[in-house]
Amino acid sequence: MESVQAKQPPTTTPEQQPQKLKPVHRMLLGFTGQEDRKIFNQIPAHVNKVHVDGLEHTKHDIVIKQVKDVLEAQSIGEICVRAHTAQSKLRKLDIFKDIQFFIDTSKGKQSGTNDYEVIFEVEERRLGGGIHGEVGTNDGAVRTAFKFLNLFGRAENVNMEYSYGTKMTSGSLMFSKPLFENPDILFRTGGYQHHGEYPWSGYRTIDRGLLADIQFPSRLGSHTLSCEGVWRELGCMNRTTAFAVREQAGHSLKYALKHIFARDHRDNNILPNKGTLFTCTQELAGVDDKVLGFVKHNMEFQAFKQLPLSTVFQLSLGGGIMKPLQSGTEVSIQDHFFLGGPLTLRGFNINAVGPSSDGNALGANAYWLGGLHLYTPLPFRIGKGGFDDHFRTHMFVNAGSLGNVNFDSNMKEDLQRLAETYRLSYGLGIVVRIGGLARLELNYCVPAQVRQGDSSNVGLQFGIGVTFS
């Protein structure tokens, strides 16, 4: 079996005479309490060698890059931390079935008493996949994935997926590769076909696209740069579809450059107790023969603060605006913003706020949304142990508006109108965290401010999904 070794020259004998412990033999380290950690951090240590067992197909340079930081460790505690980090980096490559590490004393003629070796044992895998359930907003899907892993030895993966759901069916074939041997910088390219149904607007689409993107971290958060070309085919769902939507039926081509910035410092993505989330998306898109069609901005912010008595306070803000770059560019209904839903603007039906025609929502090119929530634990116990942690009651106030802003003529008035024609709803309900995957809400909503054309839902509203505000 191949192994990679990275050696450092032997050390000189250390000056300090620290607390001597028995020699550490094969020890699988996990973290213990604060006291132990302090002790561990005080014991000086030095890593002579890092050894990775089990590599057959994987190229050495990418593995060395993930584990070489372990050599810098100065104490036992630090060895543990650095080895743990190396393990998660290797896991992120997605090419190993199992990764374990062991810390052993260094055997050899030049080894001192504080010299250690770290041995990683990995098991490569070339195939992967599985069947998962996915949740969207009030719809679900089953996703089957099949992956070819580690094609050329540097974690090049090919991922084939097929999803079948209540409102969509999609398939995709993606090739991904970490760049600069860094699993955090991921390049992906591939193609997909997506069938979607949008009953609130009365149309269905078939999107066939090619996309390439790069995801990389920065000090502030993670960035994704993507470029995409999509062949979109829009068809009406039935004969009662509004004519304004029917006019957009047919084929069109869209190519887009997108930048997404995300910074998620919440402690949980379904029921956070503290932290903030900030995402910001910019899109520059061309439609058909107009290379510069429109620019679209979208921002979302959430902040959670823990208050006494186990209550949590949440503030959410969101907004987006879209501007055509050439006069006369018709923006397709598929690119519009929509507002309303059991997890966003509660008390209104899904995407049913704003301009509409014959009962079909048309969307618009600008929106804003805000929310204030107060979460409390359930007033009674319903299960044993940590089961109650998955439930909260919450009281909320949501406000928002969706409207068209005309950039040519009276932009200021349109923006003012967007602020004035706000929709407002408040209520209370129960929030459930399902398996760390989805959020389920059952709320009693009172839509206090409804405008003409909106479709509201007074009373109980049920919602399940992943994104919320």
Binding site: R239, F243, E247, Q248, A249, G250, S252, D288
Partner: protein, 261 residues
């Protein structure tokens, strides 16, 4: 089935109102996009509406085919209703109280239906054959025109997609396997039947026009005036003098301005 009933019911209710002012007829662009069979269909409907003396606005849309509820052009937008293709439009116009063939007796009306069905089975399919099964016409006219309204690469992808779809349909009907000679024979037989029926009359049924006149005019005008790499059908029609005269007569009466094609 339920939607057919609902449509019929809705049309019956709509019949109570008079012909509104904002009726629109949608079709693809005439200059660069429309193909032979669609042009014939649209012309037939437009002639029929002119014969009834009804106003409408002609709207050109590159996605008219996809907007249409049945996938075929032309389609009419009248109030809340969408009606596409010749026969349903005629039926709808009849419910509004405008009849072209009310003076005909039952037997004559049956005969008219038979001739209309002959035209649909022969002339329409011959046009489709010419557009999609004759290689010269396909590569020089049909595919470029169909894809002309889309950007690259959609123009290539969609025109090939349409080519395969139309060929599959013609194959199912047994027309794709025919040779050009056989199709010409069928067209000739059809024209012969029409010529005999028309004889020396102004219109097919006496001195007043009927649906059949509009439909036949649409197809014959298209075949006579469209310039294609293969012009056999025009020659066949020209062998029948009374048909050519019929076409020019209707053209001057109901389409006094020249139609671009």
């Amino acid at each position: 089935m339920a939607s057919l009933l609902a449509d019929a019911f809705a049309v019956e209710i709509g019949a109570k109102e008079p012909w509104p002012d904002n009726v629109s007829l949608y079709q693809p662009f005439e200059v660069g996009q429309i193909l032979l069979p669609d042009f014939a269909a649209c012309l037939g409907v437009k002639t029929y509406l002119s014969m009834c003396g009804l106003n409408y606005e002609l709207v050109f849309k590159k996605n008219a085919e996809h907007m249409s509820p049945s996938g075929k052009v032309p389609f009419m937008h009248i109030g809340p209703f969408l009606i596409s293709e010749f026969d349903p439009i005629v039926a709808f116009v009849n419910t509004k109280g405008f009849h072209l063939s009310s003076h005909l007796e039952e037997t004559e009306r049956g005969e008219m239906r038979a001739y209309m069905s002959l035209v649909d089975n022969v002339l329409l399919n011959a046009e489709l054959y010419l557009s999609w099964c004759q290689e010269d016409v396909v590569t020089e006219v049909s595919r470029p025109r169909y894809g002309s309204v889309y950007p690259w690469p959609l123009n290539k992808v969609l025109s090939w997609k349409k080519y395969y779809e139309e060929r599959r349909r013609l194959k199912a009907m047994g027309w794709a396997q025919k040779t050009l000679e056989e199709v010409c024979e069928e067209v000739k037989t059809c024209c012969q039947a029409l010529s005999e029926k028309l004889d020396k009359n102004l219109y097919f049924f006496g001195d007043n026009p009927s649906e059949l006149d509009a439909l036949v005019y649409g197809h014959l005008y298209t075949l006579l005036t469209t310039v294609l790499p293969v012009s056999r059908f025009a020659e066949i029609i020209q062998e029948f003098d009374n048909l050519s005269q019929f076409v020019s007569r209707i053209d001057s009466k109901y389409h006094s301005k020249d139609l671009q094609h």
